[in-house]
């Protein structure tokens, strides 16, 4: 009953309005705060008068706005990816890295840096290609072995090990490559531009909408494959579709933010605690919570040691790991599934 009351609250119009308001506040803070503060008056002038030569306008249009938009996209994309992966694998510890997003992206990046160091601008595309390609490979092998649910995780572990070995081998050959790869693997949003974000935004929101359309079917997977199939769900096709959505969404984030950890793992757990188990509610709540969390983590990284920046990936790991540990402890105390 307690859970139901929570579900009602967070998924009512009031709940969604509250989350939207919190997101707006996070966006506002993300725009005005930083190593250089922008007052609300300057923000207003900068937004609506767009004085090209004005410092506040330059900061807003070239630094802050693309950055908070990127943080919002990263939060939504990784959270949705996490919810889908945890639903289709039935594993609460599933995150984008289990379907090869991190290892695939990392391997392609290091390949590019090793053999074509002059076109390092193509790094985001290589990362997205690697992430998506590895997922396709893992999903195809798991589908061929005909034991999808558990096998996809085992295939992910096997492919990740091979790709990580490849990353280690290539980085041993060239120290410069290792340095460049390290910066990418931590995950950060500094220097991101609007032009980089339109395509990932289209991919992420398409995946979110598709997931919401399929959410009732996805929810049926909580009954197990046999029951879901007997209720008219094409389980394998649905699972494949969700995995591709999860991969595309995470790969889109990797293309501009690098390998941002913990969001896809932690946020779905927070959302389930707030919204209950219904997949549509978890997806909507995750999108809001993920966006707010990444925007605030990025803001923290900018102001904590200003003017030095801490990459958002480091902040997420610092916040995410203890938070996840607390969630696990609470779950143990309650003796129930989250």
């Amino acid at each position: 009953m307690k859970n139901e009351r929570k579900t009602f609250r967070i998924c009512s119009i009031g709940g969604i309005t509250l989350m939207a308001l919190m997101l707006f506040c996070a966006l506002l803070l993300g725009v005005v705060l930083g190593s250089t503060k922008v007052s609300l008056a300057e923000l207003w002038r900068g937004l609506f008068w767009k004085e090209e030569a004005h410092t506040a306008s330059i900061i807003l249009y070239y630094l802050r706005l693309p950055r908070v938009f990127a943080a919002l996209l990263a939060g939504v994309g990784l959270s949705v990816s996490g919810v889908l992966l945890q639903s289709v694998t039935g594993n609460e510890l599933a995150a984008p890295n289990i379907i090869g997003v991190n290892s695939g992206a990392g391997f392609c990046c290091i390949l590019l840096l090793t053999f074509f160091p002059k076109i390092s601008a193509a790094l985001p595309f290589a990362a997205a290609l690697g992430a998506f390609g590895t997922t396709l490979l893992i999903v195809s092998v798991a589908a061929k072995l005909n034991a999808f649910r558990g096998t996809v995780i085992l295939c992910g572990i096997a492919f990740t090990s091979v790709l990580n070995a490849g990353i280690s081998l290539l980085s041993l050959l060239d120290g410069d490559v290792l340095t460049a790869y390290n910066a990418f693997s931590v995950g950060g949003l500094s220097g991101v531009k609007f032009e980089q974000l339109w395509l990932p935004a289209a991919i992420i929101f398409t995946c979110l909408i598709l997931s919401l359309v399929l959410s009732r079917r996805i929810h049926l997977l909580c009954l197990g494959d046999a029951l879901a199939a007997s209720l008219g769900v094409r389980v394998r096709a649905l699972r494949l579709c969700c995995l591709l959505c999860a991969s595309a969404s995470a790969a889109a984030v990797v293309s501009f933010a690098g390998l941002l950890g913990f969001v896809g793992l932690v946020v779905p757990h927070i959302a389930r605690r707030l919204a209950g188990q219904r997949t549509s509610h978890v997806l909507i709540t995750s999108a809001f919570v993920g966006a707010i969390l990444v925007i605030l983590a990025d803001l923290l990284g900018r102001v904590l040691l200003a003017p030095t920046e801490i990459p958002v990936g480091v902040i997420m790991a610092l916040i995410g790991a203890p938070f996840f540990f607390i969630l696990l402890l609470q779950r143990r105390d309650q003796g129930a599934a989250m």
Binding site: E4, S215, G224, A229, G232, R278
Partner: protein, 247 residues
């Protein structure tokens, strides 16, 4: 009605089911009996189109395997042996039974809500509708799942050992409820491990041994031919007009 014609399954070179043929009688309770590994659950998986097989399974003349999943789900409802306990309310679980009738718009209409209420009332779970599934006892949980497949509004119900984790009282109540459903027009195919309960509640009996069908007919015929005794090496006694099987 549901008809199996020469259904067979071979896995890794081993014959799991061979030449199983039977027709379910409409509005009858058919018990499927057999020792462990006799192929009962494999037969259930074939009927659910989750196991590739030879032969043909038809429902009212239509090949079950060729029916689209949602159309199949509108005609045959399945309760597998092992069901999870998701952290959702009873009403939410029962509402999932309406999935075969709901398109991607996900909207449920008055007919769906009426079917959910009917299923909850029929299984006597009205008072539990807002309880979370993990807070129910094993028997109540199984009734909730029965309500879910009743909300599915299918004519044929297939239940794989539905009373496994129930105490004697819950087991009896559950089987009485199943028995009553046949009077309302439902056709039941129930895999049971308790021979005495099968003799008490079933109309028809199907016995499998090493993947082969050794008997298929009415309960009276089964008792007359001592088919259960010969398959399970048990003896039968009659106490106060009730049939009991003892090892």
């Amino acid at each position: 009605m549901l008809q199996c014609n020469s259904v067979g399954v071979t896995l890794g070179g081993k014959e799991i089911l061979s030449n199983v043929s039977f027709t379910l009688r409409q509005s009858a309770f058919t018990a499927v009996l057999g020792k462990n590994g006799s192929g009962k659950s494999t037969l259930a998986a074939c009927i659910c189109a989750q196991q590739k097989h030879t032969g043909q399974i038809t429902l009212c003349g239509s090949d079950l395997a060729s029916l689209p999943p949602r159309a199949r789900a509108q005609r045959i409802a399945v309760l597998p042996q092992n069901v999870p306990t998701p952290n959702i309310t009873v009403r939410e679980l029962v509402s999932l039974g309406r999935n075969p009738y709901i398109g991607l718009s996900r909207r449920m209409g008055d007919e769906d809500f009426a079917a959910i209420d009917r299923a909850l009332t029929r299984t006597d779970l009205g008072a539990f509708a807002d309880r979370m599934l993990p807070t129910l006892s094993g028997g109540e949980r199984q009734r909730a799942y029965l309500a879910m497949i009743l909300a599915q509004d299918a004519d044929v119900l297939l239940l794989d050992e539905p009373t496994t984790y129930m105490d004697i009282r819950a087991e009896a109540e559950f089987l009485q409820l199943l028995r009553a459903l046949t009077a309302e027009g439902k056709t039941l195919l129930v895999i049971l491990h308790d021979l005495t309960l099968a003799a008490k509640y079933a109309d028809d009996v199907l016995i499998l041994e090493h993947g082969r069908q050794t008997f298929c007919g009415t309960k009276e015929e089964c008792l007359k031919k001592c088919a259960i005794e010969s398959t399970f090496s048990v003896r039968r006694i009659n106490v106060d007009g009730e049939v009991l099987f003892l090892a």
